[in-house]
Amino acid sequence: MKKRGLHAFTTVALAASLFVSACSGGSGSQNTAPSGETPQQQSPSGEQVVLEMHSWRVEDVAGYEKIIQAFEKENPGIKINFKPFKATEYNTILNTALQSDSGPDILQLRPYATGIALADAGYLEPLDGVKGLEQFPKDFLAASTGKDGKVYGVPLSINSTQIYYNKDLFEQNGLQEPKSWDELIQVSKTLKEKGITPFAFGSKEGWLLSLSHGVIAPGAYNGNGFVEKLLKGETNLTSPEFLLSVQRMKELTTYFPENFTGLELTDLRALFATGKAAMFINGSFELEGIRQLNPDLKIDFFPMPTDDGKQVITTWVDGSYGVNAKSKHKAEALKFMEFMTTKTFGEIFANELKRISAVPGVQSSDPLVNKMAELAQSSATPYLMVVHLSQGNPTTKVTLETSLQALYLDQLTPEQVTQEVEKSAETWFAPLKK
């Protein structure tokens, strides 16, 4: 017995040394390369510079490949290594790396407060003098402008949120795009009577609630007038207009699917794509996801009708790309920034990824994307929670999400929701700060 034990152990030890050496053989050569660089940089060929580029858009790999190809063709000395991470873990990974003075050369910035915080902490390179930046409207650049007034990111895309609808279901039931809140309710009522779930909606994930509120609310407070007054401190979040926006969120409850408090995005997407639900409040970024699930679905969208008889579409800048202040190849990275302001880039982006490019004047081959882009030009209103109210701890946006969740669980009344949101904003939002 003694012998057998010893034998077993020797085998294990032997295997250990084997594995250990196998490991060092496999990865030892890269051991010396800190993150943010790649071994090719040290390669004898010398001239080629490799830039690491990080993003949270795992679903866009193929599109980015095309973009990068186009860039590399124009800049033969530079190679770009595009690496996406799952959106939910992206910031954890990025923050950890930045805090340790490493990280990618080019990084995707969350829009507004989260991304700007990185700039204010000194982790980003200001983009002064990047050619082409001046063509962007000021409110696009605001998504990545630091406290010092410098711009730290090239705006990538404009997100819009709207109400998607199933064209076949609308036609079969003789329905038209609603032109007012009452018409929207009427449409929902008809659908419900026909046994069709009017809205694919769920309240399990908070971010979908602020997103939906972002679409419904401007209809209640009539778009930009209210936002301007709020920014001047002339009104607040307990005002009748804002209260109405929350009441409307509540009013829709009877048109939601069964057990909607337990539904997540994947459930909603499925409900809409399989034709069980007729309308779906979501973003431009969701279009491809729905189409992939059901390529035959006839899908359209309508912007939100306001009470003063107009239409608005909610927009914000989604992510910009910036340059790591600690990058060893800033000049090359800035070249890529410049490339991102060109029409060439904008067009590949709009056509490959079916999204609205932030580059002015870029057309997409997709009619729906073009319709969104046109409306974003003519009748945009900001996504209030993301653009102006995404600070505080927890942020005012998160407070709205939690309170709306509580609203749907009958824990809070619409009045209480507005009070919670106002209370949160008063802790940091200058126009409301007491």
Partner: protein, 304 residues
């Protein structure tokens, strides 16, 4: 104890373990603890502020509110795991101990879930608990109990319990094996003697088996306590970093993740100082409780 032939070489024995452990576990943890004494602007370290972060954590709204709510959930986590995972685990172990056909199969089956990654466990159970086509509600429907069907994970009255029960499902196999080991280490003569004295089964269990199993019960309780107070992955996998709905599944570790990393997708504000302060508090709670119980266990063992 072996006192003879002691050479200085023996002191090299614990060294490799010690070095790796200090370097990769203790050192990073304690440096992270030191972050709690600084003011942070986002992810940039600011001035030394002493215990200010701790004061904020315990006295300022909404931080104190979140803390107490989360710790309450951790306690519920512990209590339910003790009752369901360990209570039921002990019962199953006792059934196996009292001889049952297919004991090997039972042990293997109970342990099987423990092999899965928490990501898989979370994903699978989310599917089973899905309100509209999940297995549980479908099953209830087939039994004619439609009215019992619920959006389990979307209802603040059930979400936390659902997650804890999934955790029990995940951990019960380990508990069964630990208790079984405890049961099998009871000398057979003791049981025989008690039986000859005319003890019935319940009495046998209460006055012979349970007391003699105390070491395994204590160890399992301590491990359960540690696990309950560090509960993170399953909540994160099933409810995200906000402890949704309305913080009803929030725990200390999830709250920490939100503060230290700004939550999933950076949707919330990063507050590394507060997060580290919370980590220190969490460590003090877990370390003191488990150290005391292990100390008491050792003491009792020595007395035996």
């Amino acid at each position: 104890m072996a006192k003879s032939k002691r050479s200085w070489l023996i002191h090299l024995f614990p060294l490799p373990a010690l070095i790796l452990y200090v370097m990769f576990v203790l050192y990073p943890l304690f440096s992270a603890f030191s972050y709690s004494l600084y003011d942070w602007k986002g992810i940039a370290k600011g001035a030394f502020v002493g215990l200010e972060n701790f004061t904020t954590l315990f006295t300022k709204e909404p931080f104190n509110e979140m803390f107490w709510r989360a710790i309450q959930h951790n306690l519920i986590y512990f209590v339910i795991e003790m009752i369901v995972q360990n209570g039921l685990g002990f019962l199953l172990a006792y059934i196996i101990y009292r001889k049952i056909r297919g004991a090997e199969l039972l042990k293997a089956a109970y342990f099987l879930p423990r092999l899965l990654s928490v990501i898989i466990v979370g994903f699978l159970w989310k599917l089973i608990l899905n309100p509209n086509f999940g297995a549980l509600n479908t099953f209830l429907g087939k039994l004619g109990l439609e009215s019992w069907a619920k959006p389990w994970l979307g209802d603040p009255d059930t979400a936390l319990y659902a997650i804890i029960l999934v955790n029990c499902w995940f951990g019960i196999g380990f508990a069964v094996l630990v208790f079984l080991a405890g049961l099998q280490s009871i000398p057979a003569e003791l049981i025989e003697a008690a039986r000859l004295d005319g003890a019935n089964r319940l009495r046998l269990l209460r006055s012979v088996v349970l007391p003699l199993c105390m070491p395994s019960i204590t160890i399992m309780s301590v491990l359960t306590f540690i696990q309950a107070f560090e509960a993170f992955e399953l909540v994160y996998a099933m409810q995200g970093s906000m402890g949704e709905p309305v913080y009803s599944t929030d725990t200390l570790a999830v709250y920490f993740y939100r503060l230290a990393f700004g939550g999933a997708g950076g949707t919330d504000t990063v507050a590394i100082g507060l997060g580290s302060a919370l980590a220190v508090v969490l460590f003090l709670i877990v370390a003191s409780v488990s150290a005391i119980s292990l100390y008491l266990l050792r003491k009792r063992e020595v007395q035996h």
